[in-house]
Symmetry: C2
Subunit: 577 residues, 2 copies
């Protein structure tokens, strides 16, 4: 984007510089030559052709088609060059720190041979002399064509790793997460020797003499992983910076952090204290104890100009579908001996929810299986009689719901915090786990919305990429990036483009009690907006998925790209060329 | 104090109100009709007759005798009514949270009979329905004249406590801390029955049938105290408010918090986030792990307009003299079989100090005994070769120093953080523990200062009252409140009034890397000052001890009394009528 100063105001204007990245210009700013839309307070789509915001980063005026744009009264000008303007997108379910930490480890997924991988490992270790362990993921010996002397596929070895990193332990997970490759220092740190037996469900790759060769498979990974060092404060600080960059690249300006630990919180505060917290984080504590430790007897105020608040707690009613930890009403179709397990009793759930609610914390409960969803809805019914007022009980995932329970989402002001991409990623697995009879209530966005629940969409990053455009595309098509299945999976649960945009903007803000602060382009709200090349309300799912985010602004400050003239080439980003 | 508005500016001036306690007026403020002094940047005493500070609470001008005071250019006026002005005092060694928590429990020390105590207990329990345990201290059955049927002195009983509080456990420590009085619910919570044996060094008061009667003595207290609930966040918030009030009442505007836990830190931040943190807290983390958790990879910035910073870590080299935990070079005079114990090896100390110093944290090490002080000084010598620059290694207490080691305090920029009142409280005990030969290096303020160490004085509250005037009186007289001993104990170690004032102002600021922010009355520094009725540089020790603090101001905002027209009658305060 090209930005021009209004003549004559030059002397009075302090321009954003590299030292002030993310800060609003010290004058009123006009954004024009854009077309796009916001969801209004009434839930309707409102076309937008320009914005005026003040030096505190608050929107003063929004211009609609037919409005006359001002020619003076502002000191800074952003020419949108005809791009699409949207409110900054909100990802209602992210694990901020895990997203950043995962992105900072060594990624071997692009390596095509063992020598190439070894080069990458050596270079990474040399670039990170302060790390006591080198960790990473993504290798695939099949992709490398790795063979033993008899021409059989083989695993890489500790000795091969030792040849590039001998001074520190190294631990690299296979692309599917079902095996890990250790060097000798890592095996030694874990005490794994010829005498070590593999646990049930695991295997230790061995040399002919029985000594461990380097790779640990499945349950045997657990012999080593407890030895991995916890992230240090500096790692967390770097991870937060990385996570912010990844979010901004895809137009996300605010997130709900679903399971904030004290260590996470301290990293957010350190960034805030140094004016390096740009993304807006609505934090939900990882359990009651962390909630009380972090926030004390009530939710924190909004901190750092609405960039951080702990307003609630995250609880878990069950596990995940893939590992059959989700709690179902009837047995798994592909494992008739089990229907999963609740992580706690109904009484325990009620007690924890009550403990949070009595101090006015919001409650967000992870519920994947239909039994878990029913239990959480029942608990909300119970508690709503005691804890009245605007509680906004959140069900996280609400993935598999008994159709008979869907109407219950319309009661008590429940928020359904759902992740559209999970549907496209998991549908084959979900069909296997559930069988054909239970699919009607699976990822049932449209039905749950129709029942009256408020939708808030998110990614569950780093489980999926933090990409709301992929989410919108999935939400309106119920098709994966490959366009499959034709016509969409359980297509009756598609939502409209406007519903999807709302779930990624006003829905996410409402879900975090932030609707008076951000989530819309409207006077009095924070100037969080993005400029993109594709209008999600009119484009095809495929075009939406390939949306190019040109600029991301938070609170009137441009946070991405860091330098418009020199967009950073970040290999971990999703930016299309 | 009477305050007058400059005529004509009325409309423009926002006065401090109850809702804005502790905030600077929204205009420049002149303080005049005062006489007093500050320690200058050069360490010399500078007389002061007035101050001008701006709306951000920063001093613009300091007026000295002979200066003409301005008649305009300010919007708010504080008439000091001829009182003595001093910089806000700095207590360089406080346990902020413990001070507040102790002050919030039930205080029975003024009760004159068992019925009076029972009334107080009943009333306190009724006033605190949310507390799961009722705790307190200060009872004395001798003072109550409590007798059994044969006229013998007896302890109070659980049954007597049950008669006023039966719904919750109650635990009340005796005035000397050597016994505790439990009700039946507390005994039950601790599982103490007729079958419970008293541990070595302890006793359980019993009924004729062998069941516990209610009082546990010495080591037997340990059967119950682990059951006491940890303070909740709300308790800590209340404790911080209470601690601030106690500090302000005695003219303390800044403290070093010597051993900050994450729970403490979160309470400080909650107060800061709500604009309820008024006192300046220089926090030293309780050990390396808390340091890394709270501050991360480097000291925090100064937060909340210089009211909070974590700049260092607190470590412990030994214990205390009274319990013979202090580590001495030669055996205790009154226990020749022991010379105390170090809490860690020299190597461990060096490693921990190094771990902190490499991330630029300041190190403060508790050292009471002469062996502990020697070990810490040796470690500082070692580390100073590696960690160069302005490190300000702190020795906390520096209580008993081998005269041969005193000169070592003059090297490496060491700060001696000492507590004058410990000398007057402990001298009889110290003589018993040390014998006559080792007193020359005991509480040796003057010698340590002469060696070149920077003195920073404090109270160790709640071990002693957080009262710098008591400290100054002790420092210049080496006499207790009773004027004993005549001429002062080891009188060669008295300091001058100016040295004492410096150690409670500029010394405390320097010890916390805050000398550019507060600690003096000087342009550019925070307007932290107090108005008192006694000049510590000219008054007798007895008069200094009875100093009446008229007003306490932090950052240009009056923080005490809350309402000048209605000074609060706080029974826990030290304010003299």
């Amino acid at each position: 984007m090209k930005r021009t100063l209004i003549a004559g105001l030059l002397a009075a204007v302090a321009l954003p510089t590299a030292a002030h990245a993310g800060q609003a210009p010290s004058t009123d700013t006009l954004v024009d030559n854009v077309h796009g839309e916001t969801i209004g307070a009434d839930g309707q789509v409102e076309p937008v052709i320009g914005l005026l915001f003040d030096r505190s980063g608050v929107i003063r005026q929004v211009f609609h088609p037919g409005d006359k744009l001002p020619r003076k009264g502002f000191g800074y000008h952003v020419d949108g060059q005809g791009q699409v303007i949207l409110p900054g997108l909100i990802d209602a379910h992210v694990h901020v720190m895990e997203l950043g930490l995962a992105a900072l480890t060594l990624d071997l997924s692009a390596t095509r041979s063992l020598p190439e991988a070894l080069d990458a490992i050596r270079a990474y270790a040399a670039a990170h002399p302060d790390r006591t362990w080198i960790t990473g993921r993504g290798w695939n010996q099949e992709q490398w064509g790795l063979k033993d002397s008899r021409g059989q596929s083989r695993y890489p070895t500790a000795a091969e790793l030792d040849s590039v990193v001998g001074d520190r332990p190294v631990w690299l997970e296979r692309v599917d997460g079902h095996a890990g490759w250790a060097n000798s220092a890592a095996l030694k740190a874990a005490g794994i020797t010829a005498a070590t037996k593999a646990p049930d469900g695991g295997a230790i790759d061995r040399r002919p003499d029985g000594t461990p060769a380097g790779v640990l498979v499945d349950a045997a990974m657990g012999l080593l992983t407890p030895r991995l060092p916890a992230p240090r404060a500096a790692d967390r600080d770097a991870a937060l910076a990385k996570a912010q960059s990844l979010l901004f690249q895809r137009g996300v300006t605010a997130v709900a952090d679903m399971g904030t630990s004290i260590e996470d919180w301290q990293a957010y505060r350190r960034a805030g204290d140094k004016n390096q917290l740009y993304v807006r984080i609505m934090a939900y504590a990882m359990g009651i104890d962390q909630m009380a430790l972090i926030a004390g007897g009530e939710p924190t105020p909004w901190l750092y100009a609405d960039r951080l608040r702990m307003g609630g707690v995250k609880l878990f009613m069950d596990g995940a579908l893939g590992s059959r930890g989700a709690w179902l009403k009837a047995p798994y179709a592909d494992a008739p001996g089990t229907r999963g397990l609740p992580r706690m009793t109904d009484t325990q759930l009620g007690n924890l929810m009550s403990r949070a609610a009595m101090d006015n914390f919001q409650v967000a409960v992870h519920a994947i299986g239909d039994a878990a969803n029913a239990a959480v809805l029942a608990s909300i019914d119970d508690l709503s009689a005691t804890y009245k007022g605007d509680r906004r009980w959140r069900v996280e995932h609400a993935q598999i719901v008994d159709p008979a329970d869907i109407a219950r989402f319309g009661r008590n002001g429940v928020i359904a915090s759902m992740q559209p991409v999970h549907e496209t990623s998991d549908r084959v697995m979900a069909e296997a786990r559930l069988g054909p009879q239970r699919l009607a209530g699976a990822y049932a966005w449209a039905s749950i919305a129709k029942a009256g629940a408020r939708l808030a969409f998110g990614s569950d990053a780093p489980v999926e990429a933090p990409d709301p455009f992929a989410g919108i595309a999935a939400a309106i098509s119920r098709q994966g990036p490959d366009g499959q299945p034709d016509g969409g999976w359980q297509p009756q649960e598609k939502v409209t483009p406007a519903q999807a945009l709302a779930a990624y903007t006003t829905g996410g803000a409402y879900a975090g009690f932030a609707e008076g602060r951000f989530g819309r382009l409207a006077p009095g709200l924070r100037a969080d907006f993005i400029l993109v090349d594709t209008d999600p309300l009119t484009a095809t799912p495929d075009a939406i998925r390939h949306t190019r985010v040109r600029e991301t602004w938070v609170g009137g400050g441009k946070v991405w790209p860091a330098d418009a003239e020199n967009p950073p080439a970040d290999k971990n980003g999703n930016q299309k060329g």
